[in-house]
Amino acid sequence: MMSEFVLKGGQVVGPGGVADADVHVRDGRIVEIGVGLASDRVIDCNGALVGPGFVDVHVHFREPGQEWKEDIETGSRAAAAGGFTAVVAMANTDPAIDAGHLARYVSERGADVGLVDVMPAGAITLARGGTHLAHLDELWAAGVRLFSDDGDSVHDAGVLRLAMDYLSDLGGIVAQHAEDRTLTLGAHMHEGAVSARLGMRGMPALAEEAIIMRDLALVELTGVRYHVQHVSTAGTVHLVEEAKRRGLPVTAEVTPHHLAFDHREIERMDPAYKMYPPLRTESDVMAVREALGSGVIDVVGTDHAPHAAAEKDVPFDDAPRGVIGLETAAAVVNEMVPLGPVEFFERMSVAGARLLGLDRHGRWLEPGVPANLVVFAPEVSWTPHHFASRSENSPFKGRRMKGRVLATIHDGAVTYEAS
């Protein structure tokens, strides 16, 4: 890996706006920002935006246990190709990340691969079983900051309250996959006009909102930092907005696919569009777009969820849930939400780093700052056909997209360059 180069002819994004400038990187850090900088190695940016590398608070790298879908190496490659320099890997692996040694395994594997910082999320309950607390102190000591039983809600209010009380002392974040399974039994799509026509059981918007309503009351009681994963309904947006207005320590994320598609996509019964929470209505899509624009939703989390081709090549009901998202996220956000460059990097990078307390990522560019960077061309169109991820279960496969990652720099090394 080279240790010195200049990002030439880009528009450097800072908190106040953009400026035409070159960025000189050496030994892992930015050494100079200015015009006419020179080096033996030059990466031509052609007027693209140069900003802090993206941070994804929600990915599934499937290791340990389901490496045929993805592993930390292929997942890291996908992250780099998508412009990410740090990701949070969810704990629903096999075994679940519910103890310190497991969390350390994930972060060390990530460091060995060296393409992106892989921060493990910790399970809230043992084996994500929902009944006993996971080894929260151990997980914290191993560097875990965000705790989630993602894939399932923590349903039991008593257990969740214990976790919240416990983690509020440490400053940990309780992140919830909000889905009341008593309202979603046997369902694989949004409950509404499309599910009724297809004769499929539906997951009502309320299944998400009911969990969040209850959780917000528990947040008020315990004071814990609370993060709403993959907001998918207008009702959830409203709840988050209200909670923030009341001063509760609440943050929220939205996935690229919930910004792009509504439940009418399911009419083709194509498992490429199957995920939980499901694609909702047009007005829900409008609400989450607007909320990401205004900052009510703080960050984009891809919920990158790889599945092997054969697993998805079955009828809709029988397919596993989830879609990949790392390599297309920036383009989707660029296209779906009218953000200025500063807000774009705020939602894609800065806010995520702040949420996780990362001091090496999500920092506006200045000399001395660790070189975790992305070069992103918002006007360049492309069509994804193949992916760096081991899996290709993307609803964006073959769709023309606007906004392309040209290069990713992690700790001063180029981890991706568009060909």
């Binding site: 509404g192 009724a196 297809l198 004769g199």
Partner: protein
């Protein structure tokens, strides 16, 4: 026509033409030797991934009456129980030389996927609670035989509509052919969202006893239909077609049921056996409409009829 997967969106002229063709096969089936050589040498494979008696036998009878060969598949004894994927099963059957597939599957959309994978003509024999298009044809044919036309008829569909592919197909076919459809069920057995559906609703069977056709549906225990009711007796008291209610219906009206019937629940035994019950003609017409669809899909020559 490449596949026959749904009646949704099928224009009235197309439906009518299929019914007209079915009438011809009704005539064929009444001959001393009820068989034509139209599909000699062709093979129709039956892929029933869900239990079925009448639909499967009806398709087999239809294929054989057209002189086609048939192959059958049942999931319990097949390689599916050894872990083979649906896709591989479908491709295997294609490789054996099937010319068309009849598919029934518990998952919505499965016949579409199989059509995509195999490129063969696929007849939807029922997918989840979504569509059952040949049932809609046979029901429309039965009503047309009895009344001459569906235009202006009042048809009430009573029972577990939420979990019923028969209801979804019949609503589309009946309304396209000009009937007015009223759905009668407790809210837990109605689809969650009826916006845009060409239907009226009623909350008790007593409100629709003046219909021309009362079409009864079974509570689908296997799709969770029973768990959304307080009890079957309570269901019968508000939605069952009892003898007493049947007696209040017009003497020109008829009763239909796609089977299998649960006598004493949605339909009283005396009603099921009454001359104004069209259950048997429905079953007989099933063979004719399936002949019509197979004939259309496999391109039989009109001279062979």
């Amino acid at each position: 026509m490449n596949d026959f997967l749904t009646v949704e969106g099928l224009p009235r002229a197309e439906l009518t033409s299929l019914l007209d063709l079915s009438d011809e096969f009704v005539e064929v089936l009444a001959r001393p030797i009820p068989k034509v050589p139209a599909l000699r040498g062709r093979t129709v494979a039956m892929l029933f991934f869900e239990p079925s008696t009448r639909t499967r036998m009806s398709f087999e009878r239809a294929a054989k009456a057209l002189s086609a060969d048939t192959m059958s598949f049942s999931p319990g004894t097949s390689s599916l129980s050894k872990g083979e994927s649906l896709k591989d099963t479908a491709l295997t059957i294609k490789a054996m030389g099937a010319d068309a597939l009849v598919v029934r599957h518990a998952s919505t959309g499965a016949p579409w996927r199989i059509a995509e994978w195999t490129g063969l003509p696929v007849l939807n024999g029922g997918d989840g609670a979504h569509q059952h298009p040949t049932q809609a044809l046979l029901d429309a044919l039965t009503i047309r035989q009895h009344f001459g036309n569906l235009e202006g008829l009042q048809v009430a569909i009573v029972g577990d509509i939420r979990h019923s592919r028969v209801a979804r197909s019949n609503i589309a076919a009946f309304s396209t052919l000009g009937a007015t459809v009223t759905l009668v069920a407790p809210k837990t057995l109605l689809p969650v969202d009826l916006a845009g559906w060409p239907v009226h609703t009623a909350a008790a069977i007593d409100e629709v006893l003046d219909s021309d056709v009362i079409y009864l549906l079974r509570i689908q225990k296997e799709r969770g239909g029973a768990s959304v009711l307080p009890s079957l007796p309570e269901y019968v008291s508000r939605f069952g077609l009892t003898w007493d209610r049947f007696a209040r219906m017009s003497s020109d009206s008829v009763v239909m049921h796609p089977g299998p019937m649960n006598r004493g629940v949605e339909i009283a035994p005396e009603v099921a056996d009454h001359p104004r019950s069209l259950v048997e003609p429905q079953v007989a017409n099933g063979v004719a409409v399936r002949m019509a669809v197979l004939f259309r899909l496999l391109g039989g020559e009109a001279d062979d009829v």
